[in-house]
């Protein structure tokens, strides 16, 4: 018997959030981190990514298609839930709620970010240190990017915790608790990477 659409969609949503999207976010933040070594290092790293072979295939299959599915199905999931943290204020219920809030934040942020960088590049602009420095010189944009990056990193780290449960890796409460710590360390670590990169542009 074939698995139902619900099952396949949910599992695919969970998988794509980590592979490839989570890995891509980590890689993206790592490239950004070159900004802490100065404009030249950042430009070299960005240029290396731009000049990868079969770049469009990579972008379509590693980034845009998984992102599109994860985002659209994710919004459907988020609006299906009836949040109840006021009545059940447990840690995991808060994480469940924050996962949905951060998901919506990430969707807004990424849509804007893709427009501001990738689509501008497609229309002839050059993506480099100067471009980001110009964007982030606006304090409102800086705040928007800080919220966006923190939201993205949280959504990934906490989503990773859910991934381990949803695929049946962490079954015991003990292993799930351990993963809470591991994923929160990932959240903090990637946040430091993201924030240091952002502040390197200003």
């Amino acid at each position: 018997m074939a698995a139902s659409r619900d099952f396949v969609s949910r599992k695919l949503h969970s998988l794509l959030g980590v592979i490839p999207l989570g890995l891509y976010v980590t890689q993206h933040l790592t490239v950004n981190y070159f900004a802490t070594r100065g404009p030249e290092a950042f430009n070299d790293a960005a240029h290396f990514m731009e000049s990868l072979p079969y770049r469009y295939l990579l972008e379509i299959f590693v980034i845009f298609l998984p992102l599109l599915f994860h985002a659209i199905y994710g919004v459907y999931i988020a609006f299906q839930s009836k949040n109840n943290v006021s009545r059940y204020g447990y840690l995991r219920n808060w994480m469940f709620y924050l996962q949905r809030i951060s998901g919506v934040i990430v969707l807004i942020f990424v849509t804007w970010h893709v427009w501001q960088t990738r689509l501008q590049a497609a229309m002839g602009a050059e993506v480099n240190f100067q471009m980001m420095a110009d964007i982030l010189s606006n304090p409102a944009m800086m705040i928007f990017y800080i919220v966006g990056v923190l939201g993205t990193v949280f959504h990934f780290a906490n989503g990773l915790w859910s991934f381990f449960v949803s695929w049946g890796f962490t079954v015991t409460p003990k292993s799930q608790r351990a993963m809470t710590y591991v994923t929160m360390i990932i959240f903090v670590a990637l946040s430091v990477v993201g924030m240091r990169a952002l502040f390197a542009f200003v």
Partner: protein, 253 residues
């Protein structure tokens, strides 16, 4: 200790029928020692007069065993879903608020229709089929240590509290809820039940199935029987993940 308290005040969310609008009615009843919410409701039934002194209809609720085994008398008491039989008035802050569980359609007052839970049990085939045309003889034996943990899962009384606390069980979703998922784990752990474990896993992988869990883990915090519901969910996640691979790539067992 509490004998100086002369009366008990209850604020009850009432509803005359499935389609009617809910309203609140307050009752003040004489206090007796060791009362529980059910004995308070019985007192209202005996003398259906509200706090304003007006005669009203008795409040309707469901009950069965009166010892937290049947699961019929669940309601939201002071904001938390639980069984009214084990809700002792001495341990509740007054005025005590009573409301029907919100996840289920209200039949009348505090009585709700938990059909979606029983439909879920049918969907995942939460039973062991042993009836046949002849005596099959004794089944395989179950190791004692396994029986002991399986017994914990068998304490589920389909009371609805886990579904009430779950943010993913609502009118917008078909999610079967934590109780049925845990029952699959119970019956699949049974040596005879294991003979049909794929059928139950297929049920879990159906629409509205296990994958709809969002891991808020409210269920395990709310279960009055302390059933390790989130462990069951994760265990069934693993079983259905493996089943998916077996179904797709093939396996002889």
């Amino acid at each position: 200790m509490m004998s100086e308290k002369k009366t008990v005040t209850l604020k009850i969310k009432r509803q005359d029928g499935p389609e009617s609008a809910p309203y609140e009615e307050t009752f003040t009843i004489p206090y007796r020692q060791n009362m529980n919410v059910i004995s308070a409701l019985m007192e209202i039934r005996r003398n259906p007069v509200n706090a304003k002194g007006e005669k009203t209809t008795p409040v309707i609720w469901e009950m069965g065993c009166l010892e937290e085994v049947c699961g019929a008398c669940s309601m939201v008491i002071n904001g938390k879903p639980r069984q009214s039989c084990t809700a002792l008035l001495d341990q509740l802050e007054q005025p005590i608020s009573l409301a029907p569980m919100t996840t289920f359609p209200v039949v009348r007052d505090l009585a709700v229709d938990r059909s979606r839970m029983f439909d879920a049990l049918k969907k995942v085939k939460a039973w062991i089929p042993i009836d046949g045309t002849y005596d099959l003889g004794p089944g395989p034996r179950m190791p004692e240590n396994k029986r002991q943990w399986a017994y914990e899962l068998s304490k589920c009384m389909t009371c609805g509290v886990c579904l009430e606390s779950c943010p993913n069980v609502n009118s917008r979703s078909e999610f079967i809820g934590p109780a049925a998922v845990s029952q699959v784990r119970l019956f699949n752990a049974h040596p005879t039940g294991a003979m049909n474990k794929e059928e139950r896993l297929e049920g879990l992988m159906g629409d509205g199935g296990l994958a709809n869990c969002g891991n808020s883990q409210n269920c395990v915090q709310s279960c009055p029987k302390g059933i390790p519901l989130t462990t069951s969910i994760a265990a069934m996640n693993r079983a259905t993940s493996l089943q998916t691979f077996k179904n797709f790539f093939g396996s002889d067992h």
